[in-house]
Symmetry: C2
Subunit: 423 residues, 2 copies
């Protein structure tokens, strides 16, 4: 049960710098890292080594926000505004997932794509449909990747053809939880009110109770754009701010919670996120594409709020977390420039930390090669990009900025080599 | 000498919309488009057809600003600030181009990369070195791609080890012009003061005279970031604004001129650009990476200023103009959001127009399939991305947002199929 993996190891136990072991060793036991060694300790020298030579070994990528059901629309309709985009593209598309055959086709392509791009764990929105959502859970289990899968709850403020009956919405969610809560160590259900306006207060309250009853985590959207924030204030006049709506219904940290976007979070909202250990998911590609607010990620870091990155397909167009990292750095530089360099931009190691150990924390001990962490890893063959004298850190940076799936040789999740899904 | 190319033709004679001919025909005669036809006219029906089936046929990409000599550093040192980046990376790297063998190695990789990414015409900065610059000109001639290549002029405000003697700078530039001005129809020299501060007033004046004497175009940088703009004001107190420095020395439209960045151009500067037909090159990836100002491209469009896109390697990290287009759209959405939707964002067809016909105008009749235009084209095999019912415009958009070199089947320049350079 012990494996030794050798290669150029790069990871980020802390955000401030990379830990680099040229031709180092990772000892993996029962799927978990037992230790990382420049020189292999004497007692392990008889064990077989998987030697990846000059290749890079980095933690797998954790995508904390993604709409699996919007995969058909990735990279298109980008010059439509949000409301026409939802009405003409997103909602009609999601309605098709009533048909489990259609859902299977899209979800197969989706899982193959995220596998290809080096995402080893992901948190996704499915649709309101119970059967299709269960197919997606089963497909993730078969894939070997790690996932939280959310059946979307939506009984309010949406077209009739996709609106749920409130009681059914709750019942379907509970059925899925009961069936899948303990089915797989890597693939689990997550409670997923689409966002505050799309659920009745009754449903929000019941979902909060359900989460606590079963100890199920929660995901939703928060403070993404101005009109949305104003609308929430109007719909929930008793709430002090947007996040306070979720808090009122025990959906804001009562169980592990992540909130996508948080671009316009107020000081109080950030304070509550910190207090309640709510993880903020930064989705910079989506924020740019949709033209909503940009998230001032440095403010969240300064306040010690947990952070992860999200591809937010199909508002975001790029399934690769490497590329989302680049956008996170770039958008942080807008704040840097606009603040006359007072608000520091993200360094490479900070962005990498957020994509790996930051986001990984939602899945347990995931996203690092420290002892006790699940061995989730990517083996990077960057020979094509590495034709001159680059350092290991420069090689990693060039892979992040310039590389693609062709440079990902292998993917590991919890110590298992994950093959391309054969759907 | 007549070729007929058939496939799904998409191009932009005007920015407002795509012209789409499903399974249409392009008649190419002597490297130029003679006409585009949905149904082939009777008189051509006996000619052989190159039928690309269900593939897309689009104009080639024109990259109007790029530092070929910085190719080693593409996608790295991205968390260094501008001055340390210049001092520790760019200038020491450029100094190596004194060695023509080193230059050849980098330029070979560079040309192969831009070929791969579908750039069919490009305007590049080389370095101050005459011999290396001539090698680059020769290599472009051999490649079959179109290029303007600039020997950089720099006799001021730079480290001694890369500073030119002023008279030599002028003499080397003139030598290159004489040797290459009429050597190739596709590859030409361009006058290239690095930017106003890097040239003495004597050299700027002489370069202006040289440009007019031989009718040679000009490229440089303009109004990229705040400190640079302030510095230029201090160095050239008699100039009304940055662009006025170039104007004083006949380097701002006396011959065809392009200026990279223009992020912070004032109203007067934009007015002079319009009057003098100076083309503004938008480099959004670079602007984000360097953390300099973002260019409000809509303002330039509203004023009828000519526009092109630039990869600006290695300030920009992406050699693909498709991806630069995406960033141009995304950064325009920041202005759209910040202006409460008063400043329209770039539509797909507008961005495509700028990357093709807009930038192409610097090379002559290039970047469209209208009659009389050089037949520069890319054949796009997007089957992998096109597994559902997408329209041709959606397919093009998905290729732009999600595609890469794997989806570019063929490249044509002036009617010739361009093979991968065999350096």
């Amino acid at each position: 049960m012990i494996k030794i993996i050798k290669g150029n190891i790069v990871f980020t136990p802390t955000p401030d710098k990379f830990t680099v072991l040229p031709h180092g060793h990772i000892l993996v036991s029962d799927g978990k890292v037992k230790g990382v060694y420049q020189e292999l300790p004497r007692e392990y020298r008889n064990l077989a080594i998987t030697d990846y030579g000059d290749r890079l070994i980095i933690p797998g990528m954790n995508d904390l926000h993604c709409h699996a059901s919007q995969f058909k629309h990735v990279g298109m309709a980008m010059d439509k505004e949000l409301i026409p985009w939802l009405e003409n593209y997103t909602f009609p598309e999601e309605a098709k997932f009533q048909d489990t055959k259609y859902a299977e086709k899209i979800y197969q392509n989706f899982i193959k794509e995220i596998w290809k791009q080096g995402t080893t764990r992901i948190v996704v929105f499915a649709t309101v449909h119970k059967e299709s959502t269960m197919r997606l859970l089963d497909m993730f289990i078969n894939s070997g990747l790690g996932a939280y899968v959310g059946k979307v709850n939506m009984d309010n403020n949406c077209p009739d053809y996709i609106r749920e009956n409130s009681a059914d919405s709750l019942k379907d969610t509970e059925d899925i939880i009961i069936k899948y809560q303990n089915k797989s160590p890597l693939v689990k259900p997550i409670i997923t009110p689409r966002f505050a306006p799309s659920c009745s207060e009754w449903l929000l309250a019941e979902l909060g109770k359900l989460g606590q009853k079963f100890g199920i985590p929660v995901q939703s959207h928060l403070s993404e754009n101005k009109n949305e924030v104003k609308w929430v204030q109007k719909l929930f006049p008793d709430a002090d701010y947007y996040g306070d709506v979720y808090r009122q219904y025990d959906l804001f940290g009562a169980t592990p919670t992540l909130m996508a976007h948080c671009s316009l979070s107020s000081e109080e909202e950030m304070k509550l996120m910190k207090e309640n250990n709510v993880l903020a998911v930064h989705c910079p590609t989506s924020n740019l594409n949709v033209g909503s607010g940009l998230m001032p990620i440095r403010r969240f870091m300064d306040r010690g709020i947990k952070l992860g990155l999200g591809s937010d397909l199909s508002g975001g167009h790029l399934p690769s977390l490497m590329k989302v990292m680049v956008y996170a750095i770039q958008t942080s530089k807008i704040f840097w420039a606009n603040s006359e360099k007072q608000m520091d931009f993200l360094t490479n190691s900070e962005a990498f930390f957020i994509a790996t150990k930051g986001g990984g924390s939602f899945f347990g001990k995931v996203g690092s090669f420290e002892a006790g962490y699940d061995f989730d890893a990517l083996i990077i063959d960057d020979e094509e990009l590495n034709y001159l004298d680059y350092t290991l850190e420069e090689r990693l940076e060039r892979f992040i900025y310039l590389g693609d799936d062709r440079h990902i040789l292998h993917r590991y999740v919890s110590g298992n080599l994950i093959k391309k899904p054969d759907f």
